[in-house]
């Protein structure tokens, strides 16, 4: 009996010592279901970073453990995050495509005191769920409020009709855009919300056309919908020279452009990343990504994963491999770097992402449809986060 206890103790110590040479990162992702593609792209971004920068940092090997959450299921996300901590002994929690999942996991990060990197979930309030959390993706107010202000000022638009999908991000985007647009002197002439799984937009576009607004603002999730909406607009004869069409980056993502074809020409979007950017860092990233993802192009899910890994690597370098949550989050605060998307920073006070917001227009370049950037608002902080800060003061 004593021998058994001793043997077990030695084994445990040995594996603990072994484990100390590895930094385990647990990533609960929506690898099946509707959001599987987003999760896969994010994972590819993570793998690309590791391919380009090696899998060792500060003398420790990086190990990624993924789990499938299946969809918007906070109870599952919470349990998987707990299991990653308790069963698999991870040092860092990362990933989180969807807001409800990130929110639930935030509780685990706070309770178990684990550094957490949100690589996609874009609702502003997520960041408040744990003091050990940072975000490397984007927040909706960051882009949408900036867009609203730009549209009413530099964009020269006085009227807008908003059309968004009736779910969390859509409603947030609608609120953010409308409030900023109105604050900058614009007028919201009408609005409509689509049901979530809506495959056909003709009726809604017809309603918009009936009002004849100066511009239309759209927010819909990626997947099949942007193309369907683009087609609906073409079929209804919306002339983009008369009615400006404003959208989020997902509206003119790669698959959407391919499917919409020339119907996409003229759409103006505000977003933080485009894979077609010719910046040297991005070209390098895209080439490496092609090798990891079997020829596919990256998207904003990918860059969220990529920069999330960068933040982890840099923080670990600063703490010299110490995975204590407070040490890592302190190291991450104020971290600034040049990413394939452009310059970005982790806000030292809110721990949220700070980055450029690019204004782009869809044009034909060498026979290909491209989101051509023509304006930019630099280093935007999440306005909702700023308001929270002031509210506290």
């Amino acid at each position: 009996m004593k021998k058994l206890v001793l043997a077990t103790a030695v084994l445990a110590a040995a594996s603990a010592a072994q484990a100390q040479q590895t930094v385990k990162i647990g990533m609960p992702l929506t690898l099946s279901g509707q959001f599987a593609d987003a999760a896969n792209q994010m994972l590819n971004g993570v793998k690309t970073y590791m391919k380009m920068h090696g899998d060792t940092v500060a003398g420790k090997k990086i190990e990624i453990i993924t789990k499938d959450v299946g969809g918007p299921a906070p109870d599952v996300a919470k349990r998987l995050s707990q299991e990653l901590v308790v069963r698999d002994g991870v040092d860092i929690l990362a990933g989180y495509v969807l807001t409800p999942n990130a929110m639930a996991a935030g509780d685990v990060s706070a309770e178990a005191k684990k550094f957490m990197v949100v690589m996609n979930a874009a609702t502003s309030v997520v960041i408040t769920k744990s003091p050990y959390m940072i975000r490397t993706s984007v927040t909706l107010p960051q882009v949408m409020e900036t867009f609203g202000t730009w549209a009413a000022t530099k964009g020269g638009l006085k009227q807008v009709y908003t059309m968004v999908t009736d779910y969390g991000p859509g409603i947030d985007a609608e609120g953010a855009f409308q409030s900023a647009f109105k604050a900058a002197g614009g007028n919201v002439v009408g609005s409509v919300r689509f049901p979530v799984a809506n495959p056909d937009f003709s009726a809604f576009v017809q309603r918009a056309k009936d009002v004849s607004p100066q511009s239309i603002f759209i927010f819909i999730p990626g997947g099949a919908q942007p193309a369907a909406l683009g087609k609906a607009m073409a079929e209804r004869g919306i002339d983009k020279n008369i009615t400006r069409v404003l959208g989020s980056g997902e509206t003119t993502a790669e698959a959407a452009l391919k499917s919409m074809g020339d119907n996409a020409l003229g759409i103006i979007t505000a977003w933080h990343y485009d894979y077609m950017s010719k910046a040297p860092l991005n070209v390098q990233f895209v080439n490496a990504y092609h090798q990891v993802a079997g020829g596919r192009n990256p998207d904003f899910f990918s860059i969220g994963g990529y920069d999330g890994m960068h933040a982890i690597y840099e923080a670990l370098k600063k703490t010299r491999g110490n995975t204590d949550a407070q040490a890592l989050v302190d190291a991450a605060k104020g971290l600034r770097w040049e990413s394939p998307r452009g310059p970005m920073m982790i806000d030292p006070e809110t721990r949220d992402v700070v980055q450029n917001v690019y204004l782009r227009k869809v044009e034909k370049v060498n026979g290909e449809l491209v989101n051509v950037p023509f304006d930019m608002v630099p280093m935007v902080k999440d306005p909702a986060g700023e308001r929270r800060k002031q509210g506290k003061k």
Partner: protein
């Protein structure tokens, strides 16, 4: 005398329930999963009551699960965080919803019944999405936490969660067991076998079905509430068609109409899913699909049904 014989506990049953205590000792890092299995088992048991015993095929049972879940969540958010009282209220309110719907549901059979139950489930899910001011919509209900029950904390190790879920499951199981072996339960089975003949021998079938449907709704609501309280989260997923379909698959897998089918199905399905998902997080559903196909081809009437047939052959 006759009924007393049926309600005597078989040794296998006793062993089974004792085994449910094993995870505390053998697999302490799996207790969160175990609590989820217990919750799903209760949900499946409630479906068995109406499907396996009363013959009502429902593709919208998650309506009650989610309704109980949100009730518990809203109580915790706006009123108090004591779970036992909230649990009872959640179960009762799900029961009231079940009772109301039962008046419509029991009038139909076959495909119309399936589609109506599905329709009600979808409508409720959509209503919850629209009422995002109350429910939090797609982001889920935020801003509440249920710290624990009877002085024990719900922590990330899941001990209290499993104990709580298991206790609720066992209690409801006892109730189900009594119901099934009672005259009411026999009448239900009679209705399932032959819906037109029962009124002829004096059993008012629609009233019986409504009662069963209501009880099933209460139990489903309790399961949902336990989920909310042990995880301090609620989302639209608890009301979703996906959850209704999942529990149906689980029940069929285990074997409907055999009391333990739902529990067995929940254990096997969720453990298999957990294990496959660990090995192949991106394609685990391929393996689950294979398991389902294999079970149907080799074990008709679910695992319990297949085992039963096997036993009979062996004798």
């Amino acid at each position: 005398m006759h009924f007393q014989g049926l309600t005597r506990w078989r040794p296998l049953e006793v062993v089974f329930w004792l085994c449910t205590l094993l995870p505390f000792v053998l697999t302490p890092s799996y207790l969160s999963l175990a609590s989820q299995i217990a919750i799903t088992a209760l949900f499946a048991l409630s479906l068995d009551l109406i499907l396996g015993y009363a013959g009502i095929v429902s593709l919208g049972h998650a309506a009650f699960f989610g309704f109980g879940a949100y009730t518990a969540g809203l109580i915790a958010k706006h009123y108090w965080t004591e779970p036992l009282s909230a649990l009872l209220i959640a179960g009762l309110s799900a029961g009231i919803l079940g009772y109301a719907l039962s008046h419509i549901v029991v009038r139909f059979r076959h495909l119309a019944l399936i589609m109506l139950t599905m329709g009600f489930g979808l409508l409720l899910a959509e209503a919850a999405n629209s009422a995002h001011a109350i429910t939090g919509g797609a982001d889920g209900l935020q801003g509440f936490r249920v710290p624990g029950v009877l002085g024990f904390r719900f922590d990330m190790f899941g001990r209290t969660a499993y104990a709580f879920a298991l206790a609720v499951l066992f209690l409801c199981f006892l109730i189900c067991r009594r119901i099934i072996h009672s005259p009411f339960g026999l009448a239900l089975r009679g209705i399932r076998e032959n819906a037109t003949r029962m009124p002829a021998i004096g059993a008012p079938s629609q009233a019986h079905l409504r009662k069963a449907y209501t009880i099933a709704a209460v139990m489903a609501g309790l399961a949902g509430a336990v989920l909310t309280q042990t995880t301090s989260t609620v989302s639209l997923e608890t009301l979703s068609f996906g959850r209704s379909a999942d529990v149906l698959v689980i029940l069929i897998l285990g074997g409907a109409g055999r009391l333990y089918g739902g529990i067995l199905g929940a254990v096997i399905y969720m453990v298999a899913r957990d294990q496959f998902s660990g090995v192949s997080p991106q394609y685990w559903y391929f393996w689950i699909g294979l398991v389902l196909v294999a079970v149907v081809m080799f074990l008709p009437n679910g695992i319990l049904g297949g085992l039963n047939a096997f036993y009979k052959k062996a004798q």
